[in-house]
């Protein structure tokens, strides 16, 4: 069975027909070409596929495309607005918070949700929050540093 979905994708209204069994991540990557959202495990464990649905971070490999009908979906491609890096992206760059980069989009989307709820997280709070995001390269140290640095930077800008 095909379902018709209409939703807001990075601020623009879009619609598509998809099989009922299509996962959100596949719709984003295959239909809309937004390949910044990665599939690491496809078993809801690794967080490489994290996007925001109605402002909350979710694993897009564990949602059906059909479930976002009427929702607002934001992906890593929508984060940086007009070409300027988002403070989280800038901080990941500066703090060498990635090696292969595969986990990075999910890490950043997850961290963005954290900073919305808790603008000044402690180191422990960042580590706790990133429970669902796995990185096989960095050992997490620089990721945690980058998230806290971005929190500082965003605080200074008053956002």
């Amino acid at each position: 069975m095909d379902v018709q979905v209409s939703f807001t994708l990075n601020g623009k209204t879009v619609s598509a027909a998809a099989s009922s069994a299509t996962l959100l991540v596949d719709l984003l990557r295959n239909r809309f070409g937004l390949t910044g959202t990665h599939v690491g495990c496809d078993t809801s464990q690794c967080g490489a596929c994290v996007v925001h649905v109605d402002g909350a971070s979710v694993k897009s490999c564990t949602m059906l495309a059909a479930q976002v009908d009427g929702c607002a979906v934001d992906t890593i491609e929508g984060l940086s607005g007009d070409g300027e890096l988002h403070p989280l992206q800038q901080a990941f760059h500066e703090h060498h918070a990635l090696q292969c980069g595969f986990c990075t989009p999910g890490m950043i989307m997850s961290a963005a949700d954290l900073l919305k709820r808790n603008p000044r997280p402690s180191e422990l709070e960042v580590r706790d929050w990133l429970e669902g995001n796995m990185c096989r390269c960095t050992g997490y140290h620089n990721i945690v540093k980058a998230v806290r640095a971005a929190a500082g930077a965003m605080g200074e800008e008053g956002s």
Binding site: M1, S20, Q45, S57, V58, T62, L64, E131
Partner: protein, 265 residues
């Protein structure tokens, strides 16, 4: 994943009607258990009935009877509710101990109790607090609801609408998480009421269950020390690559004492 008919129910009645209509329809709540199961083809439903649009299934309300939590209320909503945290802090602690933030953003109370995973957290809270599981058809006490591994008293066509948690005088939940999945290797919920003490353990056996020896000891003396020396048999406990039955038996005592200490804190 095989294709199915996707249907967004507008009300509990509507969902129940579709569920009863025959075929092999299943309810979809947060999807955090069901969608991974569909990928593995453990289930192949003809239809998924999405509960996400049903407002009557959402929300948290406190009354004289206790905390009423709608079945489709997410773990993050339970963890973040300020009035609930003040009235029954143990429920917020249970909810925030589940999985990771993305799982908590989607997963729901109703999905968790209906699934009755032997290592899930909410079943321990529901049994420990002596909750009532309310469906579109009847009210079921937690003692009768959690029947066995992934098995509940729910009949075909039944929809969980709400869980009512009585308010304890004090309660605690201590969980030793599996470091990979965050499910409970062993989790113990201890709750003291005027009428007595209830102790429920998850993760240790094939299903959540109560520990009568612990309850009696705590009724005499509600302190961690009261549990010292009470033997826990490893005979019917889970034994797998994550932990041996003996290790789990040991953890049951440790987690129960920690839960009591949390309740007293």
């Amino acid at each position: 994943m095989r294709e199915f008919n996707y249907y967004r129910a507008g009300s509990v009645r509507d969902a129940a009607k579709r569920l009863a209509a025959g075929g092999n329809a299943m309810l979809l709540a947060g999807g955090m258990t069901l969608l991974p199961a569909l990928k593995m083809r453990f289930n192949q439903p003809s239809e998924l009935i999405d509960l996400a649009g049903i407002n009557e299934l959402k929300g948290i309300k406190l009354s004289r009877k206790g905390a009423h939590i709608g079945a489709a209320t997410t773990h993050v909503e339970v963890a973040g509710n300020v009035e609930l945290r003040a009235a029954v802090p143990v429920l917020s602690q249970v909810a925030e101990s589940i999985g990771d933030p993305q799982v908590r953003n989607r997963g729901t109370l109703g999905g968790s109790v209906a699934n009755n995973d032997p290592a899930a957290d909410y079943p321990a809270a529901a049994l420990g607090l002596g909750a009532t599981i309310i469906t579109n058809k009847r009210k079921i006490s937690a003692d009768n609801f959690f029947v066995g591994m992934f098995e509940t008293a729910l009949n075909a066509g039944e929809v969980v609408t709400e869980v009512l948690f009585p308010l304890p005088q004090r309660a605690g939940y201590a969980k030793f998480p599996n470091p990979a999945t965050r499910y409970a290797l062993v989790g113990v919920c201890v709750a003291q009421f005027k009428s007595g003490v209830r102790v429920a353990v998850t993760g240790a056996g094939s299903s959540v269950h109560r520990l009568e020896d612990f309850e009696e000891a705590l009724e005499r003396d509600f302190s961690p020390g009261a549990l010292e020396g009470i033997p826990v048999s490893a005979a019917n406990l889970n034994d797998d690559m994550h932990a041996s039955a003996e290790y789990r038996a040991q953890l049951v005592g440790v987690m129960a004492r920690r839960a009591v200490a949390m309740a007293l804190d």
